[in-house]
Amino acid sequence: MSDRITIMLDGRPVEVDAGVLLIQAAQDAGTYIPRFCWHPRMNPVGMCRMCLVEVEGPGGTMLTTSCTVPVSEGMVVHTASETVKKAQEGVLEFLLINHPLDCPVCDRGGECPLQDQTMAFGPGESRYVEEKRHFEKPIPISDLVMLDRERCILCARCVRFSDDIAGDPLIEFLDRGNYTQVNTFADEPFASYFSGNTVQICPVGALTATPYRFRARPWDLEAVESVCAGCSVGCRVSVQSSQNEILRLLGVDVEATNHGWLCDKGRFGFQHLAAPDRLTTPLVRGEDGELHEASWSDALDRAARGLAAIVDSSGEGAVAGLGGSRSTNEEALAFERLMRHTIGTPHLDAAMGDALDARLLAAAPRRGLIGDLEQASTVLVWGPDLREELPVLYLRVRRAVAELGAGLVVVHPRASGLDTIADHVVRYRPGEGGALLARLAAGDGDLAEVRSALDDGPVVAIVGRTGLTEDGDLAGAVAGFAAELPDASVLAVSRRSNLYGAIDMGLAPGMGPGRVGEDPGRDADGIVEGLRDGSVKGLVLLGADPAGDHPSGTAGDALSRAEFVVSIDLFINDSNRGADVVLPAAGFAEVEGTMTNLEGRVQKVNRLVPAPGQARPANEILADLADRLGGKWESSTAESLASDIATLVPYADVSWEALDRGTGGDGILARGGDVVYSVPTVSTSVGNGMALHLGRVLYDRGTALMMDPSLAKLTQKPVLHLHPDDASSLGVAVGDQVRVSGSDGSAEVDAAVDPSLSPGVVYLPFNLGVSVGSDPSVTVEKVT
């Protein structure tokens, strides 16, 4: 694409990239050609006819759609001739024939491409005086999206997005001619994880999002660019608010991460910030055993006294810290300082026992970039179901495979979102991943073909925990194997938003800020164990909910044994309901700072709205706490912490100023660091009996999601999925109750049948309210 050619654009010679579409080339050269159906991230169809231009050719000068014509050397193009103007006016007059022009009551009014382009290129008035067509308006096509077919101009952007980009073709053209409409199947709603993107790219007000409908007019909105905190992909977003309340998020098109797309969890997951249950004052446990509102100074005094008492009686090592992965890098660094330096404990972990070895996440062998997918010949996904855990990374893999033609190998215990486009799908029993890896590396038997597919480089390997019963070291062993593949890039993935940044800030046992080694300490599993056996007595939680997030499902019980717990959070949850001091923190879009995504890409997050009530940024809370514990911090503002971060080797190039200057850009990669990941050897043993696959779903019962009225209703009830053979041998039919018993308890749930599982494997979604522990070995029986 680097070749440049010259075309004549409206009488002036301009140099453009060879091979690009005329509409794009003209835009690059500063000439905007109006369009509705063309979208720079989707294949052109030339349906709306709005982008007609005149192109001179051997057969004469002809009107042609500039979105379907690639530029060629010497091409002579007219975008504003009388003929073109007449064509544009004609097209707009046609497009408006059935459009209701209900702009005053339309959410799109004020930012509507149809409105804007009618004003700029339209005829001014219509000759059409007949009755317009009518549809029931608006109809819900999913829990999140409403469709007004009268406004629709039939550009097919939503249809093409859902089919080509998202792979969920649930919305289509129905009927024909003047009756053509966009709709869903009668009893199959547009239940795509990516449905919100169609609202954003709809060039009219036909698709609207229920959380935003009638909440604001575009000209009343304030906006900043920021980064979605929903997962670790780090999608660039525009956060928009009115009257100090966030009303919507829009995807911003950046090359590095999201290409403008967002998942619905990211797009609509902001409503918890204004939830009535949001903590607005410090809470301190009183003599009566209940949490009571307190002043900041009382609460901080109490927190400091409690922690100091434990240090005095049992030593620094009796205090531990969990959390920081939902915070900014600046807040995470403050947490590290408080725990490791002011208090002096080595026991701190940003992960909840559900991620991977921090060294693997921070220093995977041949660590790659999401963008490497664009050049990949083969993609190996041996990790989580990306559609459920890292949805926009799923879209990027989908693009690499379905659009750019890469081969795809998926290894997962059950059907995952990518299976339909995969060349090879390998199933296995949780707990036997090591044995499978050994066979795959050797190209054993039926895996010979898969093994040889992996020899076609460049290979991008996405590794992670397929489920929470899977040993985290397996992903490390897979990363070690994948790193040896030709031109390999390895992405070691874990879901929680700023986990990578938190690790880089030293919130991992044995790792200090800037990816350097530190004294070893307990990880989350060790801290939970320490709480159980009494060796850990005091705990500081920073936006952490181990009761809900730790795979054992029993961390809540362990927490209740702690002598003293301080929680800094947005909500009361199962982990801090029994805490001694709860301090209200500022959340997403309420603080300024940086976040680091799964590639090590640092991006700026910005403040748009004030935190509610007395909630404060976590770094200020932590500094005040440190001050009471005798820590002498020079400064604790986010800005000063940011300049401290810039002294860490991998973050040497990172500054707020540089990131702000690059607004809309791709952020800055934090590269390097001292830590080395040594690839572990994993057990190749083979189990028997029933094995549990504990997989994540996008809409789980996480605290923030449950506080979000639009998303909470999308969570499903937990169902145990069995292979049909196991179901029949247990005498279980779909909908029957089964009891599943694991390492940490048992539960009765409804049964479902899933033929994609291997016989002997059952699947239970994680964090939907049912937990039986994280050991793969379980028993299942029918409840009679």
Binding site: L170, I171, D175, R176, F185, A186, E188
Partner: protein
């Protein structure tokens, strides 16, 4: 709800005819329509299962073509052409005769659910106008009289197999391509993809 075994077998034959299963969507829709006397949501869902499409993609195809009926229709759909050639040569009278003989007004289905009557736009048999289709099998050179006989035959014999050749012999007149070179497949012959339905004259 699922299809009976013989229908499933035909569906599988159809899917096997195409290199990609989604290509079988149109003949399968015809099969679903025959099975349920009109396309139902269940029928379209079945077609989606066989083709690997989503139900709405199937409905998108089904709703584009007017020959797929989404309202319930009778065992026999009698389509009388009313476009220009047939109109000039008496197609309207043929339609009138059909409606009168069967008691079913154009665009409707008889109360016994056996027969639907419709006037349609050009069915590509201008050379043999006026033309009529029964279950999309063509008969040309029809007169009001022969149309009445055709309707009585449908009512009395209740034929399982509708064959263009047989109807042409019994009720037809001039044919579009009688004057042209014979085509091995028969220019007005049955639609190849419908073969497994048995409309070539024999049930598979």
């Amino acid at each position: 709800m699922s299809w009976p075994d013989d229908v499933v077998e035909r569906a599988e034959v159809m899917v096997a005819k195409y290199p990609e299963s989604r290509s079988a969507v149109m003949p399968l829709l015809y099969l679903a329509m025959r099975e349920d006397k009109g396309l139902t949501l269940d029928g379209m869902r079945q077609v989606a299962d066989y083709t690997g499409l989503t139900p709405v993609q199937v409905e998108s195809v089904a709703s584009f073509y007017s020959m797929y009926k989404r309202d319930s229709v009778g065992d026999y759909i009698v389509s009388v052409c009313t476009s220009i050639s047939c109109h000039l040569l008496g197609g309207d009278e043929v339609l009138e005769a059909v409606a009168e003989e069967t008691g079913v007004p154009p665009g409707e289905t008889g109360s016994d659910g056996r027969l639907s009557v419709e006037g349609v736009e050009c069915i590509g048999a201008c050379g043999g106008a006026p033309a009529v289709q029964v279950n999309y099998e063509l008969v040309e050179g029809v007169t009001p009289d022969s149309a009445r006989r055709l309707c009585r035959w449908l009512a009395d014999d209740q034929p399982v197999v509708i064959s263009s050749d047989q109807m042409q012999a019994d009720f037809g007149g001039i044919r579009s391509f009688e004057w042209g070179p014979a085509e091995p497949g028969g220019a007005t012959g049955p639609v190849p993809a419908f073969g497994p339905l048995g409309t070539e004259g024999q049930r598979s």
